[in-house]
Structures are given as C-alpha cells and as structure tokens.
Amino acid sequence: MIRLEKRPTPSQAWTWATPVLAVLLTMLAGGLMFALLGKDPVAAIKIIFYDPLFNPQFAAYSRPQLLVKAGPLILIAVGLAMGFRAGIWNIGAEGQYIMGAIFGAAVGLAMYPSDSWMIFPAMVIAGAFGGFLWAMIPAVLKVVFGTNEILVSLLLVYVAEKLMAAMALGPLRNPEGGGFPGSRNFQGYPAASNPELFPNSGMHWGVVAAIIAVIFGYILLSRHLMGYHIRLAGQSPRAARFGGVSPARLVIFCLGFGGALAGLAGIFEVTGPAGQITTSFNTGYGFTAIIVAFLGRLNPIGILLAGLLMALTYIGGELASFMLGLPSAAIQAFQGMLLFFLLGVDVLSNFRIKIGREGHA
C-alpha cells in the first residue's frame, strides 16, 4: 500500500530536482511517442536536444535562434509567474502579446517614413501599454464584479486574434503591398526596427528586456514588499487579508505587470524576428510561456533556464520535422507532456511517499 504523507514545508531538494526529473520523463515518453510514429526515438531526441547546439552543420544557424525564441518566452513567463504565485491566473498572455504588437506597430506605422530616434522607444512604450490595457480588462472586471479572470483573459485571446486579422487586412495594411494582407515590414524601416545587436548572436532588444525582467522579477519577489505580498497571498490568502494585503491591488498589479511584459514581447517580436503584422503573426508563445513559468518553478532565475530549454525544443522540433519528417504538431504535444510530468512529479516535493501498512504512532 502506497500512502502520501504531507510534508510540513515543501522539500527544497525536490523543488529543484523535479523539473529535471520531468524533463527526463518527457524524453522517455516523447521517445515512445516518436517510436509509435515510426521514427527512431534516440535519433529524434538527439535532434531535438543536442543537434541545435552542437551539430556542426546546423548549430551555426540554430544557436542564434535559441535567444530569438527564448526572449519572448522568458519575458512573458516572468510576468505570468507573479500572478501564478499569488493565485491570479492570467492565461491570456497570447492576447496581450498580440495587442502589444498591434499598439506598438500602429505607433511606428503612423510615423512612417520619419527617421527620428524617438520612434522605436515610443513603439516599445506603446507596446507595453497595449498589453497592459488588454490585461486590465480581466483585472478590472475581477476587482469590480468578481468575474473569473481565467475565462475572461482566455476569451480575450480569440478577440485579439480577430482584431489582429482585421488590422492586417484593414487599417495597418501596407498601402504598397499590392492588396496583400499584412503591414509594412519593419526591417525596411530602420527607425522602427529591432535588428540583431551583434551579428549571428540572436541577441535583440527583446532578449535584453527579458534579462532585465528576470533581474527585476527576482529582486521584486525576494527583496520587495510587493513580492512578499504576492507570496503571502499565494500561500495563505486569509493570512494575507488579515495582514492588510489588498487583493484588488494585487490583482491589478499582477495582471498589469504580466500584460505589460507580454506586450513588450509582442512589440519586440513584430519589429524584429517577425517583421510585420500578419494574420498569422502569433505562434503560441503566450501559451508556451505558461509551461515555461511552471518549469522554472515560478522563480525568475528558474524561468531563465526553462525558457532556454523550451526554446531548444522549438528549434529542435523544427529540425526534427525537417530531418525526420516528424509532424510539427508533435513538438506541441511534447511540450504539453512536459507540463503534465512536471505537475505530476511535483507530488514528491509536497508529499512523502510511504510504502507499507499504515503505521500506528
């Protein structure tokens, strides 16, 4: 008979060991999945996790991609982690990311073809504001009416997607694009573009922002009163209320902060790697960032590592679909599986496993 015995406090050692264990289990289960698809599992795992970094043929291309993909994931996940810690579930980061891109791009496109140095900073601010504003919808509805923020933030993703399609076909469409949907490409508009800072590094301003967000998030959580309130509210909402923590302020802060960071990720993406607003601009970073936040144990430093790992699975997945003909959706299933295993093995940090008959003390 296997029993679970609740630990008084979560085990420190397991807290850091479980993500590693989850990754290993995912590799095993993923290998099994690839085998069922008729692919060599060992080769598939090697292509996903090893080749993007070390294969002499592909690494030169795929190493810079690591930062390109990890940047937005980390930026969004740091913001989400604040809310998740406090028990505030913003799962609509994808929508906030889209709105950031739309707001920022609109500012830049309105200025076209000016070459003032102020354009890019203004776009970044507008992008963060767009994400913030979109996150304020569930936040204000929750504070004023008590509406469930999970459902509202998620439903707003679909609204944002439609809005983006409307923008790409309407107001933001490239007037010189021959009627095709999609905005002007920012790569041809130097004052508003977000190029690589060093050649072949993948480093762009979004990655810089991600690193700043990690440092800022870490300091906020561990050294600042707000961070203390966030942690307190997550562990014991009642104690937090007695301690004078205002739930409304926390909701506004967590959703607003997460939204602003997601908006930043959006504007850096649209001005950099993506280049333009199109009907298919968003690729699910907002959802994958949820996995990144949990994989990083809702801790900014952990999120930095988790974001890099998740970026690796993206690039590795692309490589695997190119090399082995592995369906591109397989990697999405792979990432979902990772979150399952992570949540499952977490039982080890919160409980002791006791085997044998129930003891009598």
Partner: protein, 309 residues
Amino acid sequence: MDLSSINWLLLLASLMVAATPILLAGIGELVTERAGVLNLGVEGMMITGAICGFAVATQTGSATLGYLAAALGGAAMSMLFGFLTQFLLSNQVATGLALTLFGLGFSALIGQSFVGVQGIRVEDLNLGPLADIPVLGPVLFQHDAMVYISLLLVAGVWLFLTRTRGGLILRAVGENHDAAHALGYKVVRIRLMAIAFGGACAGLGGAYLSLVRVPQWTQGMTAGAGWIALALVVFASWRPWRVLIGAYLFGGLTVLQLNLQAAGLKVPVEYLAMSPYLITIFVLVIISGRSRASIGAPATLGQSFHATT
C-alpha cells in the same frame, strides 16, 4: 444590409445545431464541477473527441462508432487529468491548462492525415409526421440524433443530480469532501467517475463539431468552444436546465452573427466573429455580480482532497 434576406426559420433551425457542441461539453463539465473538480481541460478533451470521432467515422463510415470513439477519447484524456489531480494531488487549474495544451498538440498530431478529408454525411433522424408540421417541423424535428441525445442528457443529468441517491452523494462530495469521506463515501472514486463523464461529454461535443457542424477536420477547430462551455456552467449557476438555456441563447447569437455576415452587414467579418467571445465575457460579468455561495458554486470546487485518516 438586407435583413429580409435572412431566412428566420432556417436560423432557428440551425440554432439547435450550433448550440449542441457547447451544450454537450457544458453538461459534462457541470457534473464534474458538482463533484468539486474544476477541469479547465474541456477545450483539450473536445478537440481530442473531434479528431477521434472524425477519424473513426470516416474510416468506418459510421457516425455512431465515431461518437463512441470520441466519447472514449475524451474520457481517456480526462483520466490523465484525473490521475494527476486525484492521486498525485496536482493543482487543478494548472493541470487543466496542461490538458488543453496537450490536447491541442496531440490532436493536431493524429489529425495530420485527415486534413482535407471529406467528412461523412450524418442523416437527420426520421421523426415521421412531426417533421411535417409547418414551422415547428423544420425548427425542432428535422435534426440528427445527437441533438436529441444532448437534450435527453440534460434531462438525465437533472434527474440524476436531484432525484437519485447517487446524485446526492456526488453533490455531497462536491460540497464537503471531508464530511463525505467521514460518511464512508469514496471521494476519489466518485470524482474520477465524474471527471470521466465530463471527458466523455466533451468528446461528444467535439465530435459533433467535426461530424455535423463543420463537418471536416482542421487543426484547432474547436476555437474556444471548450472555454465557452466552461463559462456556460458559471452562467448556469451549476444547474442543468440553465445550461440548456444558456447554450441555446448562445447558439442563437452565433447563428445570428453568421447570418448577418451573409446578409452583408457593413462591418468587417473579423469584428462580427469576435462577438461570441465578447458576449460570453459580457454574460460572465453580469452573472458574477453576486457572491459565490448564492450563485450555487460547489463549496470545494477546485480543492484537492487528501484523506488524512
């Protein structure tokens, strides 16, 4: 815009078809939530049901087998959630999200070879003379069997929850799992059954999309229907008949929106397509003005149960 070009009879008739997927998923989730479990993976289970149903139906040519496969697929997905939340005591919100993310990826993976495949034709149920009644006939009595099964399901769930001992036990588990445990009821087992029922219903709802409503397979075709079903349960204050009302209201608005598009309303299609989501949010806001207890949310909704004695 030409409103007279809308065939209002046809609109009313397609209302029931539009409402059926979210009605099925919603009634399943209602049972799960009444047992005290919040499964946010409805979207993932629906899309799994959609591809399982579509795959089996196109291979065998039988809609019944397709629905069966969809229910099994949805229930199997829900058992992943059940195992994690009931035995490994993981957070229900996070696990439900994981189920949705995994379901979307997994369905895209198995559905690859079915993209562009022609769906099967699901015949309308022959209700004899009823179907020939003017006006009422086409609106109410010329649909496929699943439309009526979903109605029976609502009635069945209502009967079960309010008129049977099993329903009483299920609600007791949802209201106070510690008390139910002390009375000797198997909380985990009951919750697992409720989760499986919710998964099977979500699977059916997904299959209805891919077999009747669309009828095709495209990646991510549920497009938020699972989330709307979740909102529906809140709207319904966890009461079966109100799920039905909510689903039909919502179905009506969706159909109206599509008809307005077709009638050439001078608003870009993208803005009209937002309306189902905006309406859902709007309804959630109206509903949530009241306290949690007065709207009938099960008291232990979303809490893990760990037997200490």
